[in-house]
Every structure is written in C-alpha cells, then in structure tokens.
Symmetry: C2
Subunit: 219 residues, 2 copies
C-alpha cells in the first residue's frame, strides 16, 4: 500500500522537525501550547483577553495560523504580544516546518509562553505535532453538544478542553454536562475550563492555571 507508506513518511519527517522545535524552545525556557478548534470558536479572542490580563506578568508570543488574511496577527499585536502570521494558502492544518520557519521571524528573547493557533479545523490538525508541550481543544456552546463524540481524535490528543461562549447558554440548546461526560469518556485526564471571552467569566481561573503552567517544568 504505497499511499499509506507515503503518509507515514511525511508524518515521521514532521515529527523529527517537531522534536527539534520542542528542544529549541525548552532550551530557551519557553513553554508552548497549541490551540485547536472549529472555525469561529474564539481562539483569537481568548488569546487577546489572556494577553491583556497577563501583561506585565507573563511574556507571551503567538504564532497565528490561517489559510488566508493577517487579521488575527494584527489583533494579537494590538493586544500587546509578539506575533507572526503563517498563511497556509489552502492547506487545512499547520505542519512543523511552517512553525520552524515562523520561529525565525519572532523575537524569542524574554518569552515565557508561546501559543501556536492552528487553522480552524476540528479534524486534520490533530494528526500533526508542532513541537508543543501541550494541546488545547476549544469548543463553544453554540456549535452543538455532541462534538467530542463526533470528532474524538481531537479530544484524545489534547490535555485541556476550553468551553467558550458560556454567556450564550440561556439562548442555545447545549448540555454542558453531556459535553464534559463525552470528552472525559474519550480522555479521562482532560482538564476542563468553562469561559466567556465576551463577559470575562472564567478567565481568572484560566489565567491562574496558565501562570502555573508557564512556571512548571512538566505538564
């Protein structure tokens, strides 16, 4: 089956680069988080709110992955963090070589925490290591409460799940408890945060955890 062999070779080559990235960042004392979700769940908004809250406490950098446009990187820059935009021009996920190139374009001096925001896609990014220490999958109360069951791989490879838009719970049919149960059935070690990036609810708890994570050596 030559098709499968090729796919494995590509992933193995990706893993080699991902290991180099992880080593480079570990040497510099930078902790790295990959952020994944469907389109429009609020990844960039979460980063904006997080950067604003932790300004002066924690030096954050962001690698922004998008198929097209540089609007997300502009938003992150305006929020006050070092950032670099990757445009994949059609590709549905980031690969480690793109992150390696992006790291040449960002000032790592003094950085403590690096976010890699992947393309909005609840499927493909799960298969590609980018050199991150941990992975976060983000969902929202407006996208239906059966996502862990329907896209299990994403939840299996993540260490953290963030549920965003809890301010909209009164207006949508979304059973938080069902989502928690589904996600924990796939991955019992998943750490879960429930937030509203719009009202700020839950962001204090999230930021406290983030500071502890940045100060830890292992997850």
């Amino acid at each position: 089956m030559p098709k499968i062999t090729i796919a494995q070779n590509i992933l193995a080559a990706n893993d080699t680069i991902a290991q180099e990235i992880q080593q480079l960042l570990a040497t510099r004392g930078i902790r790295t988080i990959e952020l994944m979700s469907s389109p429009g769940v609020g990844k960039t908004t979460l980063l904006e709110r997080t950067i604003e809250r932790l300004r002066g406490q924690l030096a954050i950098g962001v690698i922004e992955g998008d198929i097209e446009t540089g609007t997300d990187a502009e938003r992150i820059e305006a929020a006050g963090a070092e950032t670099v935009q990757i445009n994949t021009r059609g590709a549905c996920h980031l690969e480690a070589h793109m992150v390696r190139d992006a790291l040449q374009e960002i000032n790592l001096i003094g950085m403590r925490l690096l976010f890699i925001e992947n393309i909005g896609n609840l499927v493909c990014p799960a298969a590609w290591n980018l050199g991150e220490d941990i992975r976060i999958v983000m969902v929202s109360t407006t996208e239906g409460d059966e996502k862990p069951a329907k896209y299990p791989h994403m939840f299996a490879v993540s260490q953290v799940m963030i549920v965003n838009k809890i301010d909209l719970l009164p207006y949508v049919d979304y059973a938080l408890e069902k989502v928690r149960k589904q996600a924990l059935a796939i991955n019992p070690n998943l750490q879960i945060f429930e937030v509203s990036c719009r009202t700020g609810e839950g962001l204090d708890t999230w930021c406290e955890w983030l500071i502890a994570f940045a100060n830890s050596k292992t997850y």
Copy 2:
C-alpha cells in the same frame, strides 16, 4: 514534485467517480446538493426542518457523512427521510467512492432531491467533487463574521450560502452585511439565505427555492 503528482492523480480518480454518480442521479431525475460547513453550524438541523416542511411535497434522501457516530442519520430518519450514514473513521472529508458505496444502500425509487451532508470542516471538503449538482456552504452568526475572507475556497466553489442562527444576532457581535459583502466579493453569483432553524425564520423562502431547484433541469 512527486507529491503533487500523486495528489492530482487521486483527485482525478475522484472526479471520474463523481461524474459517474452525477450521471446515475441525473438519469433517475434526482437533483443533488452537497452541504458543507464548520462543525456545529446546524446542517443536520436544517435538513430535519426542511424534511418536516416538505413532507408529502418533495421526496428527499440524505447521505450523512460523519467521522464517527450514527446520530445524524438517526435524526434524519426520525424526521422522515430515506438516509444512509457514512463513517469516515478519521478522514476529514467525504470522497466520491464513499458516496458511490452509500448509493447502493439507499432506496432511490421516487426520490427527487438528494442531500449529501459532508463532515464538519470548512477546508478539505471543498477540494473533492462528490457528483453533486450544486454545493451549499452554511455559516452561522455565532462563529465570527470573517469566515469568507479566512476560508475563501469554500465560498468560491459553492452556489449558495446559508447563514443560520439569525435568532442569536442580538447576543453576538456579527455583522451580516460584512459577511454578505465578503462572500460576494469572492463569488458574485452566490445565492444567500438567512435563516434560524430554531425559530423557523427564513425557512419558508428557503423551502420555496428548494422546490424550484428540484423542479429545474439546470441550476
């Protein structure tokens, strides 16, 4: 560049099967619509509401694509349509050979309109023809109003855009006019519907259009 050659061969083989599907369905007088969106935009709910409204007027069939679970097909069956579920077991999009196999499992006699609901993914499905007559991209008011600019290919290959969840407009920051403009800049011929599958707003107009489409020979 052997990698590119392989990708083109796979897509060309897919197109051949897609043409066979289109011919088979045209011979039977069945019009076919592929439905694409991010996860959780409401594709299955739209189909449920549509099937309920058009019962007795238009015989609808549905091919349900999901990575895992059969819950969507169960919902469609309960709404009263012929349906068959495809589980891709990890793959991020449907391919024509999956649709060809699914067509062996569904009763086509008397069917007038066939929906193919793709995996929730705003990127990969755009590259694969499935034998459909037209493609619909569905977005929602809760996923951010920059989606056409960030995922342009999906809007370029579609003939129709449906904006769902307009009942939530008072509670989110979503500029409908901006979305319309972005989408039409990419694809000036895009037909646009604005609906709420929850309240029913806009569904009469959508269903009238659908009946006209089913009765037309060309789009």
